[in-house]
């Protein structure tokens, strides 16, 4: 069973990225494109493009049956789902399984297992991977006992609540009984359910994730971690590896936890286990697993020299894991900026349109993953990611300097971009020091908004 032709069920930069590896491997590609993407760069790169439907994702990229039919109809042996769209939808993986098309990714059962938050949390616990400590309590005595094991600060949440409603923060354990009684009474009145839940409050957390590869039979290796703490509304903007300033003990514990979790699932293919690293306690907790290739995978490729898409294909092709843990060496530091067609001056509003000019940087240690060339369109139907610029150097300061230069050499006209915004973050002493938490970007934006107010008032 050899993969000779792959249907790419995706668009944009990741479609281009997958085609590049397929070409290097001598694998033919068929791009499944919506009507909005028929003239895109990946459509020109692929051996063939088939139009699967109108621009709206629900009418094209999200149609499971159409995607599989397109693969069968063009005699593809396999489907690569990329990220987003159908990549983590079990129905595509299972329809592939029943239609004799190789799904380049985990099994449908594995997608289901990690897609359900509660199930994933219990799998993590079973694999002895730490989760955010907490539990439900029904009496003050129980709350005090559990509170001692969780430690302050902690949150008292109404079991029946949600979206922050019925939530109380307790900074000192001696305040817990009073807070518990109040929360319970309020919860009973508001939700008709007096039960409350205690959870450790992480005042300052970093998003650190671990890249894994599994053979589907229980063997898993890791390719190190990525720090993706520079986020706005859970949208990552800058990612880097290694995560700066972690102790060796914590770093190794993160890697081992990711491997244990994936081993427990007999995970197949490339995946990412996400953790929240508690800056005050120097501890970490499992968040979720992403059962796909990630947007930010190039930083891992830069430092390891491993083509993750090629490994995905090899595993899907039944070749198993071609690498041992000892083969994984990580050299230097790599940082990535996501260049989006959005306007930071206007609350990051998407800025679709015609790209009149696109000049991307090049050079030693600089990689650009993009589908945007002059004359390309950024359609309004999809996310606004235009390119990823990745700089790799022997250490973090050198990688940062290289990335700043690369961004300065980039020119995009016709649509608004976040290029200048990235320059600002890369030049900020706090970011340069390394190890910012997930609240960093929000604080920075708020501070700048406040400054502007001062200026306009003064």
């Amino acid at each position: 069973m050899a993969i000779r032709r792959v249907l790419i069920a995706n668009r944009g930069e990741i479609a281009t990225r997958i085609i590049r590896t397929c070409r290097a491997l001598g694998i033919e590609t068929v791009l499944a494109a919506s009507a909005a993407d028929r003239d895109s760069l990946p459509a020109r790169f692929a051996n063939r493009t088939v139009c699967i439907g109108p621009p709206r994702p629900a009418d094209s990229y999200l149609k499971v049956e159409t995607i599989v039919h397109a693969a069968l109809g063009t005699k593809c042996d396999a489907i690569h789902p990329g990220y987003g769209f159908l990549s983590e939808r079990a129905p595509l993986a299972s329809l592939c399984e029943s239609s004799n098309v190789i799904f380049i990714g985990p099994t449908a059962a594995q997608i289901d297992a990690v897609g359900d938050k509660l199930r994933a949390r219990s799998e993590a616990q079973a694999a002895e991977v730490p989760v955010v400590p907490g539990g439900s309590v029904s009496t003050v005595d129980e709350a005090v006992a559990l509170g001692k094991t969780i430690g302050a600060p902690l949150l008292v949440k109404a079991v029946g609540g949600g979206g922050g409603r019925g939530m109380k923060r307790v900074d000192r354990l001696e305040d817990l009984p009073a807070a518990m009684e109040l929360a319970s009474a309020e919860a009973g009145a508001a939700f008709g359910d007096a039960r409350v839940y205690l959870e450790r409050f992480i005042a300052s957390g970093r998003h650190v994730e671990v890249q894994v590869l599994g053979d589907g039979k229980g063997r898993v290796i890791h390719l190190g971690e990525r720090d993706c703490s520079v986020q706005r509304r859970y949208q990552k903007l800058i990612e880097e590896t290694p995560a700066p300033g972690l102790t060796d003990t914590l770093r190794k514990a993160l890697h081992a936890a990711a491997v244990r979790f994936s081993e427990r699932l007999n995970y197949r293919g490339a995946g990412t286990v996400e953790f929240l690293v508690d800056r005050q306690r120097d501890a970490f907790y499992f968040l979720e697993m992403n059962a796909r290739i990630q947007v930010e995978h190039p930083v891992t490729e830069a430092v390891t020299g491993i083509d993750l898409v090629a490994e995905q294909i090899a595993i899907a092709n039944g070749e198993g894991l071609r690498l041992q843990q000892a083969d994984i060496r990580r050299n230097g530091c790599a940082i990535e900026c996501r260049i989006n067609a959005e306007d930071p001056a206007n609350d990051f509003r998407p800025s679709p349109g015609l790209v009149r000019e696109a000049v991307w940087p090049a050079g030693e240690g600089v990689r650009v993953d993009t589908h945007i060339v002059a004359g390309a369109r950024v359609p309004p139907f999809y996310d606004s990611l235009m390119a990823k610029i990745i700089a790799h150097a022997s250490d973090r300061p050198a990688a940062l300097a290289k990335l700043r230069e690369a961004i300065a050499a980039t020119r995009v006209a016709g649509v608004a971009t976040n290029l200048a915004f990235h320059t600002g973050v890369l030049s900020d002493p706090e970011f340069q020091a390394g190890g910012v938490d997930t609240g960093y970007l929000t604080r920075r934006l708020e501070a700048r908004a406040a400054q502007k107010m001062e200026v306009s008032r003064g």
Binding site: R5, E28, T29, V30, A35, R38, A43, N47, R48, T49, V50, C51, I52, G53, P54, A58, D59, S60, K63, V64, E65, T66, V68, H69, A70, L72, G73, T74, K75, P91, S94, L95, S98, S99
Partner: protein, 165 residues
């Protein structure tokens, strides 16, 4: 008992006249799914869940599908005929193009057939789900563009009609 071409044509006609949008029929292992127009997203996802549970129904249509062999085909462009008396019927979705309701059965239309807007001219099959295509114009069939059983893309012209009146 099995379905004859005439049976399928009759069922199609009944569905067309009914107020239903979809029909799933299973007789002695022969499965027939019919759907009006492009169909709803909801219907498709229902269908996806079903076919995942019931693998490989023995539809002769699916077995007969002969997809384009070369991966290097130029993508068919949406050609708008220069002649204003011509009307191109686009495929409403990507799927396998069939000229007749069943292999061996007479085609819905031939070159020279008179059609109205509502005349069914072809079936587009997506994972064993049959979607009917209507002429959308009144006139005479001038050309049938794809070969029977080939993969057609969304918006690809499948029929050329010389409009009357």
């Amino acid at each position: 008992m099995s379905l004859t071409a005439a049976d399928v044509a009759e069922i199609l006609r009944l569905l067309e006249q009914s107020s239903f949008d979809e029909l799933d029929l299973e007789i002695n292992g022969v499965k027939l799914s019919l759907r009006r127009g492009g169909g709803s997203e909801e219907a498709l996802s229902r269908r996806a869940a079903k076919s995942a549970a019931v693998p490989a129904a023995n539809s002769s249509l699916a077995q007969n599908s002969s997809p384009n062999s070369a991966a290097t085909h130029a993508a068919p462009a949406r050609a708008t005929p220069a002649d204003p008396t011509l009307h191109d019927v686009p495929s409403p979705l990507l799927g396998t193009f069939y000229r007749s309701p069943k292999p061996g059965a007479p085609p819905f239309v031939e070159v020279g057939s008179e059609v109205t807007e509502e005349t069914i001219v072809a079936i587009i099959e997506v994972m064993k789900l049959m979607n009917t295509v209507r002429a959308g114009a009144r006139g005479t069939v001038a050309e049938i563009l794809p070969t029977d059983g080939s993969l057609v893309e969304y918006d690809q012209p499948i029929l050329r009609i010389r409009k009357s009146g």
